[in-house]
Structure formats: C-alpha cells, structure tokens
C-alpha cells in the first residue's frame, strides 16, 4: 500500500476515525488498533513477509526481556549476541547474500578459478533495513542499560511496526517513541492540522517533484551514452531532486500521518540542499540514519576521541557502512566513500561543526559567500548521486566521463521547461520555509483562512495535474 495510492487514502481515514472515535478512551485498545492496522498495512505488500516482521519483533521483545532479567553478565551477553546475530543474519540473507556470493565468484575468477555462485532468488522484504535497525537500537540500548526492556508486547510491536514509519523510516529510537506509545494521547487540533499540511507537502514533493524528475532522470541515465555532457548534468540534477522529493516526501507523509495520531516522529530531513558543507548536509539528510550510525557505530568505534587518524578511520567506516546499508551494490559503497572523502577536509581541519544553524538565519537572502558554499556543496552532492543512481560502477564512470567531455558546453537536448520552472518555484518555497519543520509549515499562517486554503487547493490541483500512475518510493527497496 503506497502512501500515494487510493488504498492508503481509504485506509488512513478509517484507522483515524477508529482511533479517535472508537478506541480513544482506552490506551490499550488504541495501541492494539495501531498494531493491527500496521500489520494489515504491511501485509498489503506481501503477507508472507509479515511473518518475518512478527518473528523479528518477537525475537527482540523476548531477548530484551531476557537481557533485562539476566543475573549474570555472560547470560546478558548471550541474549544480546543472539538477537544481533539473528537480526543481522536475516538482513544478510535477504539483502546481501547474493552480493557477497557474486562478488566472491568475481574475485576468484580474477585469479583464474571459475566458481558458479549459489545465489538465492528471494525478494527483499519491504522495510527490512528499517525495522531491523529499530530492533537493533532497542536491543543495544537495553544491553548498554540505557533503557529498560518493554514488558508489553503490543506496545513494543507498535514501536517496531507503526505503519507511517514501517517501510521507509524515520528510524526511531525506543527512548523517543516508546514513551509516546505508553502515554495517553489526546487530540490536538493544531498538531493534526500541521500533520495534514505536512502530508500535503510530502505528496507534492513525491508526486510533482520526484515522479516528474524521475521520468527525465531515467531517460538520461538509461541511455547515458547517447547524451551530451550538458544533458548528463541535467540528468544528474533531475535525479538529485528526484531522490530528495521521493525520500523527504515520504518522510513528510510519515511524520504528518503520525502527528494525526498524536505521535511525533524523529525529523528526517532539514533542507539538506541548502547546506554550506558536506558535514552540514549529513546533519540534514536522512537524519535518523546518520544519527543511528553515529550513536551505534561511530561512538562505539571511538568516535572522535583519539586524534585525527581515529576520526578519519571512523568517518570512513560509517560512510561506507551507510552506503552499504542502502543496498548490495558497489555503487552505494563508492557513493558512501565519496561522501567520506568530501567530508574529510572538514574532519581534519575540525570545521565540521561550523554550520550548525540554518543558512542565512533570520535573513531573506544569503551572502555571496553563503551562496557559493551552498552551490559548491550542492554540486558535490549531485556528483555523488551519479554513483548512487547508476546500475554499476562502469555506468557511473561512463556517465562521469561523459560529463567531462567537450559536449558539456552544448545546450542540453533534454530540458523540460515546465519542470525546470516548477523546480525553481519549489526551491524558492523551500528556501522561504527553511527555518521551519517543513517548507509550508508556516506558509500563510498570518493570512485569512480562505486565502490560506486557496494555496492548499492550488497545491492539490498541481498534484493532480502532475500526477502519474502509482510510483513506488525509491527507499522502499532499501
């Protein structure tokens, strides 16, 4: 069930009405409803994978309890590693097994040995990377005694499988989400309206920006050898907007939907394309994943303690792992490594925390220096996305070499003027809303209601006019 589908447009109001009108007096019932609705939502993809989700939930729930109740450290360790092993085992089998098998066969063929890899023909369960990371953070937090194990299975199941975040995040933490699930929730008018507004903006980003950019990005990437350097640049820019519109659009819908149920999810995007350096970009892009890796990988590895060498090593590790998290392909690993390279100067010079506040905070326009910084960072990001989007390293290198050719000085052959105007307008709206949670959070907040609603109607009309058939979200494959 896609967020941008008719099924979801029916599912959401039904759950919403049951939640606030039927089960509103009883928290237990509300959580049971959320759990059932989430499992139904997930089963709509493929009911067989629901078994995997339930198993993963049961595993972490029980190992959490066992760790909590363990009297000996050895026993606690056993249950911890059992959970980690099984969770990562599932992830490895479904997501990485074929990659490793094929890479191994490739590697040994280089030394003259021929091995035919035994690969699995399995479909990647939707959202496995996301709910596995939920479970991992929960188990690690219990092991490190940061939290106590949850004793109510339904509450824990809602934490893992709450439908807005189930298939593509944000990756939540037990410390943030579980207390909200356990606390009675009251309906808040302004939060619900805010949620609807965020859903609307998320749909705009997905349907209008991402899906329309996808059409041209796919066209250019699929036949990259036939296009001029300037067209290839256009293709990379279209993909840059596609992935932002797609993923941040999804996150906006997820956050807005959760808000309708009185639950605040972690923010996942904070206008990343207005970053002044790569370090700032990574504080603003897929925030829940970056902070997960920081807390559960970077810091345990020693973080920034221990001098430059440790910082460089750890930074490389988390970026490469982060790339690999996205998928079993060398392109993702190179994309991660490229970002690590881009961020390295600021790590070495210790300037990675120079830009903590929003660019041009309190001002309408940026300074020339800020503008230049944003433009350079954006260009580096566009370059890195080429590797992310390419099918393989060969294509990525071919694409890049195509850009750095004489034809880069020609006029692009693919330049959809409607879409370009739309992208410019989109960036202007994003710019003016950059200090808020999402771009239209405060748009027209001081206007009279009819005027404000006219803007919302206009957004709805643009969504309808630019809509294409149900397009899946890119991050569902991760």
């Amino acid at each position: 069930m896609l967020f941008n589908s008719l099924e979801f447009a029916i599912f959401l109001p039904v759950v919403f009405l049951l939640y606030w009108f039927v089960t509103n007096k009883n928290l237990k019932l509300q959580n049971i409803l959320l759990c059932c609705a989430s499992y139904f939502f997930y089963a709509c993809w493929d009911w067989r994978f629901l078994l995997l989700l339930v198993f993963s939930t049961l595993l972490d729930f029980f190992t959490g309890l066992k760790m909590q109740d363990a009297e000996k450290a050895r026993s606690k360790k056993f249950w911890f590693w059992l959970s980690i092993g099984i969770n990562l085992g599932f992830l490895s089998i479904f997501k990485y097994y074929n990659f490793f098998a094929e890479s191994f066969a490739d590697a040994v063929s280089k030394i003259g040995l021929q091995v035919s890899p035994w690969t699995l023909s399995v479909i990647l369960p939707v959202g496995i990377s996301f709910y596995t990371f939920h479970g991992l953070s929960y188990v690690i937090d219990i092991y490190k005694s940061r939290i106590k194990a949850e004793r109510n299975f339904v509450d824990y199941a809602v934490f893992v499988s709450f439908f807005p975040l189930l298939v593509a995040g944000p990756i939540e933490r037990a410390t943030h989400l579980l207390p909200q699930i356990k606390k009675a929730r009251t309906f808040d008018y302004s939060k619900a309206v805010d949620g609807l507004r965020q859903i609307l903006w998320g749909l705009f980003k997905k349907v209008v920006i991402a899906d329309n950019c996808a059409q041209f990005a796919n066209q250019i990437f699929n036949d990259y050898t036939d296009h001029s350097g300037s067209t290839l640049i256009m293709g990379a820019i279209f993909f840059t907007f596609q992935i932002y519109g797609d993923f941040s659009g999804y996150s906006d819908i997820a956050l807005g939907t959760a808000r309708l149920f009185g639950i605040e999810l972690l923010r996942n995007f904070a206008f990343p394309y207005f970053s002044r350096d790569i370090a700032e970009f990574w504080r603003r892009w897929h925030i829940s994943l970056s902070s997960w890796f920081k807390d559960y990988l970077y810091i345990p590895l020693g973080g920034s303690i221990g001098g430059n060498w440790t910082r460089i090593r750890n930074t490389f590790i988390i970026f490469v792992v982060s790339g690999f998290w996205h998928g079993a392909n060398w392109t993702f690993i190179v994309w991660g490594a490229l970002n690590a390279l881009f961020i390295m100067p600021s790590i070495i010079l210790k300037t990675n925390r120079n830009h903590l506040e929003t660019v041009a905070q309190g001002r309408i326009l940026p300074t020339a220096k800020e503008f230049l910084q944003v433009a350079i960072t954006f260009s580096m990001t566009v370059f890195a996305w080429i590797f992310f989007r390419s099918e393989n390293i060969g294509q990525a290198l071919g694409y890049v070499s195509g850009i750095f050719s004489k034809s880069v000085f020609t006029i692009p052959t693919i330049r959809p003027s409607n879409l370009i105007v739309l992208l410019i307008l989109f960036m202007i709206i994003e710019w003016f809303g950059r200090e808020e949670q999402f771009a239209i959070a405060k748009l027209g907040s001081k206007w009279k209601r009819p005027m404000r609603h006219a803007v919302y109607y206009l957004i709805v009309f643009v969504i309808i006019m630019f809509s294409k058939k149900d397009q899946p979200f890119i991050y569902f494959q991760f």
């Binding site: 008719l6 008018y189 619900a192 609807l196 109607y457 709805v460 309808i464 809509s467």
Partner: protein, 313 residues
Amino acid sequence: MRKFTIHLLTFILVLLTILAAFLLFHRYCGNFKVNENSSILIVGHSHPECAFNDSLIGGVKNYAASGESYFYTYFKTKKIIEENPEMTTVLIEFSNNQIRVAKDDWIWNEEYILNRLPKYGAYMDFEAYRLLFTKNPKGLMNAMPGLFKYSLNQAFGGYKIQEDIGGYLYLERNKTDSLVASINQNPDPENSSNAISAYNLKYLQKLIDYLTSLNKRVFLIRSPLHDLYEGYSNEKQFQELRKTDFSGIEFLDFSKFALENSEFGDLEHLNYKGARKFSLWFNQLLLEGLLEKNEKQDFINASIELAKKQSDI
C-alpha cells in the same frame, strides 16, 4: 476533534465542488472539433487504426484507437458527431475479435479504465459509471484522479483532447513471417472460447441507434486481415451474429484485400506499407462512389480481385 472534522470535511467538500466544476467544464467545453473538412468518420480498435491512413483518403477522419471497446467509442463518437455536424457518414469497425467475451474486459479491466476513463469520463452517463462500478470498483476509483487531471489540464494546460483520442497509427513493424511460422505453436487463448460479448456489443447497438437517430449513414466495416489470422476461427458465429443482430446495417468487408506478408505488421494489423496500399485503393473506391452503390460488397470484391490481378502483373 469536532472542529477538526468539520474543517476537514468542509475542505474536502469545497475541493470536490471545485473539481466537479472542472469536470463540467471538461464535459461542456471539451473541444472535439476536427479541423479538416471531413464528412466520413472511422472509429474502432487497432485494426482500422493501422489500416486507414487518412492523410491519403479524401474527406475521411480516422479516430480509431488501439484497445478501444465500443463502450468508449460510443461516448467518443457522440461527442465528435455533436461538434462536427458535417460528418455525415460513420464507418464502425466490426471484426471477429470484437464479438468475443474477452473484449468486455476492454471496458472495465484496470489497464483500460485507467487509460480511457480520464479521456471520456466527463461525457459518460450514470449507466456507464454504474457498469464500471459494478465490474471493477477499484479500477474506477483509481482512474478518477486521472479524470480530474484531464479536466484540470484542459482548463489550464492547453490540452487538446482531439489529439489524444485516436488516429492513424504508423506501424513500422513486420513480424508476419515469424508469426506465420509459429502459428500453431502459440495459439491465442482468447480464441479458445466461443462466448459472445454482452456489454461491448450492447454499446455497439447503442452507437448505431444514436447515429441513425441523427440520420447519419452508418456502415460496419472489417479492415484487411491476413488469411491466417486466428480470429477467423469464429467466422461462422461472426457472420450469424452480424446477420441477426445488425442486419439493418450494411457491412463493408475489406478483410480479403490482398497484401504481401511484408505489408502486415502482424496477422491482424497493417504496417505503414500495407496501410498506404490499402488507403490509396480505398480512396479510389470512394471516388468511384462506393458508398452510393447498391451492391457495395460486390463492388468491393470486384475491386479487390482487380487489384490482385494488377499486382500479379
């Protein structure tokens, strides 16, 4: 909560009202005016779409479209005729596969609803919507945003519907030889059943009734087909049905028009070479007064024979 529900419902209600207004705009202002001065209209599915190159035939406009059932053709033709009263003659494709029950799927199957409803939904009546809702409610609901999209685009986007409802299709392919070679290996499952379409033919009858009520001349036609076309398997049933259900309408059968394998795209569609040859011949027939003759089919058959002899020489 109450305030939120009221505000949300009001918002949705206003939105639906605005969208309905655009739909009405689409219904009454949709432009089906054909620029060319044509008096003959051709409608139907992919067979005439690929066969009649109307740029080679004087006074003819081909608005046939691939995969179009009579259900959608009915609403499309109504609108075209309303806006182009100079069109006095309508040629409706009537071939073997259009009587099969499988063609009812062309009305309500998801793929077809999503493609056709946005274009013709604004002109459809309650009965048509009821049929779609009964047969495929999910498909109908999924197609509604597309209908609104068309309406909005027509109002704001300068969208020209007459450029999107069919027309001669220039087909380049030629896979006839390979199809002939494998003809018995991959039989088309559609031909295994002799069941007759109920809904598709009902709308053909409605279309004929509508056109005759306006005193338009209506002909059923069959475009050229390859001799090995599998659809001929129901020929007897086809002829019986034509004689019983559509006896009052003249049938012009061009199916035996002689063409080489290289002039077919496949066994039921002409490629551009075949379309050129057939269209020039058909144009000559019209110039010779085909539609005014008493024994039209005899005239056609004689012309086909003559063309065959000429090509043999």
